[in-house]
């Protein structure tokens, strides 16, 4: 375990109003990772399957284009964003709100281990510091500070993710919000951000374009007819595609293996390639 003193912090982080005095690092990624272009993907812990899917997709698309995906290792959107980045064999940085030696939440210990294999976990807190509620908003300023842009995927009205967005705005960084259903309380926070002038995000390419980065080459295999019908349950897909249950299950599993779809609570959703 190492740490960076204030003088060696990456320039973007050093430029914020209240940079950390030092930044502890864990993992094999190396501190030069922090100097690469980074984008924060944050959002609700209790996210909807839609939020999880979007977070995963963004994590994957951004990492595939060589952007470092920064988030907070929390459940829900954060975890999915990290996972997406790992899936694309890209880099991701988890910023903790507790001591650098801790895996919080404990359920993400496995994820933390995977992140450490190739990327970094960072924290401004020395080993042993407890995860107390007030430390998470403070942690959010580091997430926003490390990144050129911040994406809020899903947030309730008074969500910690909005604090991250506020920090980003204060520092003059780009803020994107993923539009959601206006009737869903899980989208109240993101829709409020949009009303305040945040850029609506419809795909990972939106961010890359504003950062001037070329998106990763698209995968050749797209346009499977089943993907056009999603989101839908297996039975709806069967009826609308005319496939039998057996044939359909086989095709869906094949798409899932190719990373083109995922199932949550019985509903299949297309993942943008």
């Amino acid at each position: 375990m190492t740490f960076l003193p204030k003088s060696q912090l990456p320039p973007l982080l050093r430029a914020i109003h209240d940079p950390p005095r030092r930044l502890y690092l864990r993992g094999d990624g190396g501190s030069e990772l922090l100097a690469l272009t980074a984008v924060a993907v944050v959002g609700a812990r209790a996210c909807s399957p839609y939020g999880a899917q979007v977070a995963r997709m963004l994590g994957r698309d951004l990492a595939a284009a060589g952007v470092v995906v920064v988030s907070g290792l929390a459940r829900g959107v954060d975890g999915e964003a990290h996972r997406g980045a790992l899936q694309a064999d890209g880099h991701t940085v988890a910023v903790l709100g507790c001591g650098i030696d801790r895996d919080y939440p404990a359920a993400h210990a496995g994820l933390a281990r995977q992140i450490c294999e190739r990327s970094l976990i960072v924290s401004e807190y020395e080993p042993g510091v407890e995860p107390l509620a007030w430390r998470f908003p403070a942690r959010n300023r580091i997430i926003a500070g490390l990144c050129a842009a911040t994406i809020v995927v899903e947030a309730r009205e008074r969500s910690g993710s909005l604090i991250t967005a506020d920090f980003a705005l204060e520092e003059g960084r780009e803020v994107f919000a993923v539009p959601g259903e206006i009737t869903s309380s899980l989208s109240a926070g993101t829709n409020a951000l949009l009303r305040l002038g945040a850029t609506p995000l419809t795909c990972g390419g939106d961010v890359l374009e504003s950062l001037g980065i070329a998106p990763a080459a698209k995968r050749p295999e797209t346009g499977h007819p089943l993907l056009e019908l999603m989101p839908a349950t297996a039975d709806e897909l069967a009826r609308r595609s005319g496939l039998g249950a057996a044939e359909l299950a086989a095709q869906l599993a094949a798409l899932e293996l190719d990373g083109l779809t995922s199932e949550a609570d019985g509903i299949y959703r297309a993942l943008a390639p």
Binding site: T233, D235, A253, E263, D265, G266
Partner: protein, 484 residues
Amino acid sequence: MLARAITFALVGLEPRRVEVEAHVQSGVPAFTLVGLVDRACQEAKQRVRSGIKSSELEWPGNKSTVNLAPAELKKEGSGFDLPIALALLAASGQVPRDRLAEHASYGELALDGRLRRVGGVFAVAEGARRAGLERLVCALDACAEAALAGVEPVGVRHLAEAVAYLRGELEPPEWVPSNGRARRPPLDLADVRGQERARRALELAAAGRHNMLFGGPPGIGKTMLARRLPGILPPLDDDVALEVTRIHSVAGLVDPEHPLIGYPPFRAPHHSASTAAIVGGGPKLRPGEASLAHHGVLLHDELAEFQRPALEALRQPLEDGEILVARAAGSVRFPARFQLIGTMNLCPCGARGDPGAQCSCSAQRITRYRDRLSRALLDRFDIVVTVPRPRASELQAAGGEGSDAVRTRVLSARLRLADAPPARTPAADVLLTRAVDRLRLSGRGRAKVASVARTIAALAEAGEVLPEHIAEALAYRAPPGLAT
């Protein structure tokens, strides 16, 4: 005077020969019952006395002692009434002793001397046959059950009839031998509309005897589907049917008219059930729901609401196909090779998976809810299907295929799996390996996919497991949020 009657006591499902010895001697009138008898059995004294008097027979007014030997074997229940009465009557010279010794007898007496059927007749009759006794005196409505075990039943309605028969004064009343099997419950798959994936999973579970878990919001027909599984299972072979009948007989659950359980039994214990109620045991060492579902289906509706110990206790029978209930006095084996079907909501409030409702559960609550099931138990479900709420348009669709057609396919797939189980082609192997890597399947997860794929191939009448069969099997694995 001394006389003896033969009957059988049950230890678990096993009949043990018991000699009921009656000794009548002069002395102060008294009636003593000895030989490690339980309460129901001790009460036999009152029933026997009043039964004998109601039959206008003579109560041996002297000092009479009845001993149930061997004395170290615990005797339970009321089936000893009849042999006790007959032994007393023989000891007092009212029934020929030699003739009594050629018969086994079993049944409960009513106070007016009528004979009542009790559970376990089948096992007792089996014991009689093994002990070389050809005839069993029992209640008339227990005859069909006794005859299944290969003894000649002597069905009587009343103690007086039993006595008259033993004296040679009366032929026992005719009973109509019934070869009819117990009826299949009339639940047909044709009642289910839509739910194509769940139907397909049900068919696979039936063909491959896979344990299956249905997840989904309440009210979408998970239970309705699960209840229709027995209807698409093939009938039981005769020797298996007898095995199942023995268990149901001991539990007193056999239909007197059609005693043979010829179809896979279906048991659905309520989620408040105790461990002993599910795996068997308790003070009387009775078979539990898991054994009653032997060669059939055990439905655990609302799986996550069951008490954890009661669920974990299922792991042994799921692995070994039997339950070993150990007591200080000895242990008993109950066969329990059942197919476990579980249903559960996706979250405690039930709204998850329902597009028309918003789930209000926090991530922690959902985790806690799902954590009620151990990984080890979830691991034993080969097929996990999430059933989302169907749209209204699907409910207007015509009813699906009926159970008879599905059952025919299931039967031929089972034969195929038994005769020549299909092996994986190299291409299927490649796909399976890729899936293990991409989806991070455990060793057991891989084995489950391979086994479900074999069933799929058999249902498709394919000689080999092809890649598409592996792919379909992958669709029925547990979602990462639930288990491996």
